[in-house]
Assembly symmetry: C2
Homo-oligomer: 219 residues x 2
DNA sequence: TATTATTTTTAGACTTGTCTAAATATTTTT
DNA sequence: AAAAATATTTAGACAAGTCTAAAAATAATA
């Protein structure tokens, strides 16, 4: 059984590998985990000994099948607890990350299955991220960043690619929440900022940076 | 902020001090925590440096005000999570201890307050143990062990002094659950076993050992 | 009270996870 | 392709928590 620390490394490597197909570099992991490269190297050796990652000196690492299964299990735990915190304890989506970081390490398949049942087998967490099932299967819906969407099409907010508290709070205040329907009314060419229409009446201006981090589904 | 290990020591010392007014001895702590006396001594020094316990060489330790506050906070967390596991996730009272042992270390007053609210500010956990409030105040009701109760009085099961899985499962099977009303019909002098009447019709025989570990309230 | 027996502490070692500083590889740039 | 920059690894150290074996203190008993 992996320690909490090891679980965090696996989760981190999983996250990086989602974007970089080549794998996770020592420095990338160090930056994500806010630790030092030397520390990461030490841990990579340990994870490699346990056959959780594919590690060759000076090369980016990838997860083995076992490692990936463990990583997906942590992700599942994390996202289910986030659903619990938002749906049941009434936290808002920008408050739950730190709590879920702790709760995700609670060890027990039985517990997490009961939680899953209690929550009604949710498919997505409060940020729109998909929740792997108990076998590690993960369903993704094909979302695109808002900045890549076309004007005048019916869109629905179904995720974010930035989980930062400030960003999420801003979205809350602007009513750009999960499930919100919207249409792009105008795209300003010079700075790629855009004007949105939500609820068929309210007009909102957002910057390119914000648009990039909002994921939408075309209806 | 204390580590999980330190929190377990504080909780353990609190538990022992509930019974032994003089304090918790090194060996008692080692036995309860299933570790070695030498390890305990090391930790006692650390806790003492942090002013969490009163420690003098070769003497039983007690908690300081700060230490007691921390211990009560862990106890509160533990018991609230147990209520959650039984009430919401539908575990039975003999299954929840290990999970709560992990959940009790989740750090956040805000989280535990929300959980408390969500559960409706319960006063007792699924085993009948009182839940300290956020200030560490703990209300106890005056229960007595069933073996000390008199025959033919109306009694109500309101706690257990043994939290062992086998014992609790046995109680489950015999319908000797929390809140159960009963009357002692006969006490056998030679082995102190007794015959109980529950639900005004079902007769149950229990040993002295079992009776000792059931706490009842006289109505 | 002197002698056992028990309890507690000390000393030294090990593991996990972390760090800094230095050495070695790999990449990038010229 | 050589020099410079960057990335990664090694070496050695440290803190937390644990252990065994041995020493010291306290308690029990003859």
């Amino acid at each position: 059984m992996s320690s909490q620390t090891q679980e965090n490394y696996l989760k981190c490597i999983y996250k990086i590998c989602e974007k970089n197909i080549q794998g996770a570099s020592t420095n990338a992991i160090a930056e994500e985990l806010e630790t030092k490269a030397a520390t990461v190297t030490d841990m990579l050796k340990k994870l490699s000994n346990q056959k959780l990652i594919n590690y060759k000196k000076y090369q980016a690492v990838t997860l083995t099948a076992i490692g990936k299964k463990q990583a997906l299990s942590i992700v599942r735990n994390h996202r289910l607890w986030e659903v619990f915190l938002v749906e049941k304890l009434k936290f808002s989506w920008n408050e739950v990350h730190e709590f879920a970081e702790q709760l995700e390490h609670i060890k027990s398949d039985e517990l997490i299955d009961r939680l899953d049942l209690y929550l009604g087998h949710p498919k997505f967490d409060p940020h729109g991220d998909p929740i792997p099932n108990k076998n590690g299967k993960i369903v993704t819906h094909k979302t695109i960043p808002l900045n890549e969407a076309k004007s005048n099409e019916k869109l629905i907010i179904s995720g974010v690619s930035e989980h930062n508290d400030d960003f999420l709070s801003y979205l809350n205040e602007t009513n750009l929440i999960l499930g919100q329907k919207l249409v792009i009314k105008k795209i300003n060419e010079y700075d790629k900022s855009m004007q949105l229409l939500i609820n068929k009446k309210d007009s909102i201006f957002i910057s390119h940076t914000v648009a990039k981090n909002i994921l939408v589904l075309c209806q």
